[in-house]
């Protein structure tokens, strides 16, 4: 009898531990992420959203948002979420027509493609979202495009930058954009030549590429390989590493041995910081050129000013507060409300514009996903704080190469614009 009691006690203990850990979130599981801002984020259990192809019945309009609130790009996700909330709050404050109906549901995809798919499925099937915003990571975007397309729900990508995302079959050469995918963030189609142009102007002839094995890194490296010779640069070594790797000395040594004068980086903040650390260990200080992830606050925080000081680190950029009065005002407003720590200006500004654009579209055309999609292609006259341009049936990108420039990561953490000679 004693033994039986013990066994059942053990079973109860294990079950309760399992329950506890499931409730604890196992990393935010499938619970919507409410970060304490009351405005729009809360669990989606109200199923009255007028989603699908139903006519506007005057009910809730659900906008879905799935991106990384944890992991290496958590800062971008958080900035995007805050900016989206800000836009909605401002709309509600001025008593917009749909102010009481629009609701945004936020999910964390933890930089994991399978989690992203889970979130999107939930947004479409349970929460009845009529349009989906995000994600941050190109690998995740790529993974969720099929379900969104199948269910005819438009996806407005406000942070991810992988080239193939907005093009049919992932091929920009096809000239045909994916019907349901739009982008308000910088495409790597523009970031890559911006980086290459900068390197060319600084006299780089031989370079190495170092990328992570996620969709983001792979797409970026492919684009670099394709375009490098257009700028007189020879790629002498290609190396990669996995997300979570902490030592890139082997890969960098190979690049150094191959005679690279510079290294093109395509990865996220923690790995960028580790790359700089590894290069320092080798005593090798090539020029680094990378994508906008170099301007993630986390990159500077993890690398530290003393390390950044030893290098010349450049990145493709599209947003600095100085670039227009609207941009400066947004920057000030955002910092006042959410603080400057962990603020990723591009991600925030792009998300802010995306939300405002959607509000305009919803006011004009109502919550039918197909109509939203069509309107996005023809909508014009929207004024944003980024360089956002109207979409068309031939182009679902809004920030083009000519809107981008080279930025430099300074030793004090600030991003400055580089004037190329």
């Amino acid at each position: 009898m004693f033994r039986r009691t013990n066994t059942s006690f053990a079973v109860v203990l294990i079950l309760s531990l399992a329950l506890l850990s499931a409730c604890g979130g196992g990393g935010g599981a499938s619970k919507p992420a409410d970060a304490g801002k009351p405005a729009a984020a809360s669990g989606g259990t109200t199923g009255n959203a007028s989603g699908g192809a139903a006519a506007d019945a005057g009910g809730e309009i659900v906008i879905g948002w799935s991106a990384s609130l944890s992991g290496g790009t958590a800062d971008m996700g958080a900035s995007s979420k805050n900016a989206t909330e800000l836009a909605l709050e401002e709309y509600k404050a001025k008593g917009g027509k749909l102010a009481n109906r629009i609701k945004v549901i936020y999910y964390d995809d933890e930089v994991k493609p399978d989690k992203a798919i889970q979130n999107i499925t939930r947004l479409i099937k349970n929460d009845k979202a009529v349009v989906v915003l995000g994600p941050v990571n190109s690998g995740n975007a790529n993974a969720t495009i099929p379900i969104l397309t199948q269910n005819k729900i438009p996806n407005v990508i406000n942070v991810a930058t992988g080239v193939p995302l907005t093009w049919e079959e992932g091929k920009p050469e096809s000239g045909t954009p994916r019907k349901y995918v739009f982008r308000t963030s910088m495409s790597d189609l523009g970031q890559v030549p911006t980086m290459l142009k900068g390197a060319q102007a600084m006299g780089i002839k031989k370079a190495a590429t170092l990328h992570d094995t996620t969709g983001y890194g792979v797409f970026g490296q492919q684009e670099l390989k394709k375009r490098a010779k257009d700028f007189g640069i020879e790629i002498v070594m290609e190396q990669s590493f996995k997300l979570g790797d902490t030592d890139m000395t082997g890969q960098l040594q190979k690049a150094k041995d191959a005679g690279a004068q510079a290294v093109f980086l395509y990865t996220l903040a923690p790995e960028l910081a580790q790359t700089f650390k590894s290069a320092d260990k080798l005593g090798w200080y090539p020029r680094f050129y990378g994508s906008w992830t170099i301007s993630q606050p986390a990159t500077y925080k993890l690398a530290g000013g003393d390390l950044v000081k030893k290098f010349e680190i450049y990145m493709a950029q599209s947003f600095v507060p100085e670039m227009s009065p609207a941009a400066g005002e947004f920057d000030k407003k955002f910092r006042a409300k959410y603080g400057g720590d962990g603020f990723m200006p591009n991600a925030a500004a792009q998300s802010y514009d995306t939300m405002n654009l959607l509000i305009e579209v919803l006011e004009k055309i109502g919550p039918d996903p197909e109509k939203i999609r069509d309107e996005l292609e023809t909508h014009s006259g929207f004024k944003g704080v980024t360089k956002i341009r109207p979409f068309s049936s031939k182009n679902h990108e809004s920030i083009m190469e000519e809107d981008m420039f080279l930025g430099k990561l300074e030793a004090n953490g600030k991003i400055t614009r580089v004037e190329l000679k």
Binding site: R3, N6, T7, F9, A10, L13, I14, L17, A18, L20, S21, G24, G25, G26, G27, G28, L69, S70, G71, G72, A74, D75, T213, S240, F241, K242, G244, D245, T246, D247, T249, G250, Q251, Q253, K254, K256, D257, A269, P270, A273, Q274, K277, D280, K281, L282, G283, A298, K301, L302, G304, D306, L307
Partner: protein
């Protein structure tokens, strides 16, 4: 060739961390015949606590013992809740409950410190030492040295000291040990406390190399367990060797293709265990669960 030497040195550095964590597996194994699968998360927990203490301005020589003490307490608590209460159940039950402890620890970290990766400043402030063309961080040399010293002290403690022998006696024959006046319950709690303290030390050591983040512990735990199996779960010296071999294998295979980095260590472990089931240097046949 340069790249190979560099990978070798880097591998020894990270391998010594795996070895340090793995010693924790050894202690609980020889005392209670149980494995704490939360060891990796304990590592990160120690790292986080250490980071907070450093943030308060405490010097490293104070942070290390304080963190180890905190982790020892946590380890004893985990033992009391997760192990002690299941002592008459099948072995699988304790494995599951240590996994549960691991998940709880991870989520406690996330709640307290957030989900981002955090920077852990090294007392050596990124200083790099050059051996020819190969660079190694002063911190990595420090980690290697500490790991060696800790292994040595552990062996001495377990072989020579009365308490160490008591710990080993309890696993060998709990009833006989009890008759000799050694409390198996106390030894069990002590072994978990020691193993958690070692993990905590490991966390502070590894923090500046890998950054600390709530979710990073699990992978460390898995690799360290692999190192322990590779070297022989009952031999601290073997575990040290196992950890170093694992680290070097990882780094060298990354040169061929980063995809091999996670695969090759485990392939090595399987190969070794197929030939010698108690690991490279192990002497006792470990009961397989």
């Amino acid at each position: 060739m340069n790249a190979v030497f560099q990978a070798l040195i880097s591998g020894l550095a990270i391998g010594s961390v795996y070895a340090l964590i793995a010693q924790g597996f050894h202690i609980t194994q020889i005392t209670t015949n149980k494995i704490n699968f939360g060891q990796g998360d304990f590592l990160m927990f120690g790292g986080m606590i250490g980071l907070s203490l450093v943030g308060l301005g405490l010097p490293l020589w104070a942070v290390i013992p304080l963190t180890m003490a905190a982790m020892a307490f946590y380890g004893a608590l985990a033992e009391r809740i997760a192990i002690q209460s299941l002592k008459n159940s099948v072995a699988v039950a304790t494995i599951m409950s240590t996994v549960g402890v691991a998940i709880i620890t991870r989520n406690v970290m996330m709640l307290n410190w957030g989900r981002d990766e955090l920077r852990f400043p090294s007392p050596f402030a990124g200083k790099v030492v050059k051996i020819g063309t190969v660079g190694i961080q002063a911190h990595e040399i420090f980690v290697f040295a500490v790991s060696l010293v800790a292994t040595f002290l552990l062996i001495v403690f377990l072989q020579r000291s009365k308490l160490g022998k008591a710990l080993r006696a309890v696993a060998f024959n709990p009833d006989a040990a009890a008759l000799m006046g050694i409390s198996p319950r106390r030894m069990s709690a002590l072994s978990f406390a020691m193993s958690a303290a070692l993990a905590g030390l490991g966390g502070i050591l590894v923090g500046p190399i890998t950054f600390v983040a709530a979710f990073k512990g699990a992978v460390f735990g898995l690799k360290s367990f692999g190192a322990a199996l590779l070297g022989g779960l009952d031999q601290p010296g073997g575990i040290l060797a196992g950890g170093l071999i694992l680290g070097v294998t990882e780094m060298l295979s990354a040169l061929i293709d980063p995809a091999w980095k996670d695969v090759s260590p485990f392939m090595l472990i399987i190969a070794v265990l197929a030939i010698s089931p108690s690991g490279l240097f192990g002497r006792r046949l470990i009961e397989k669960v």
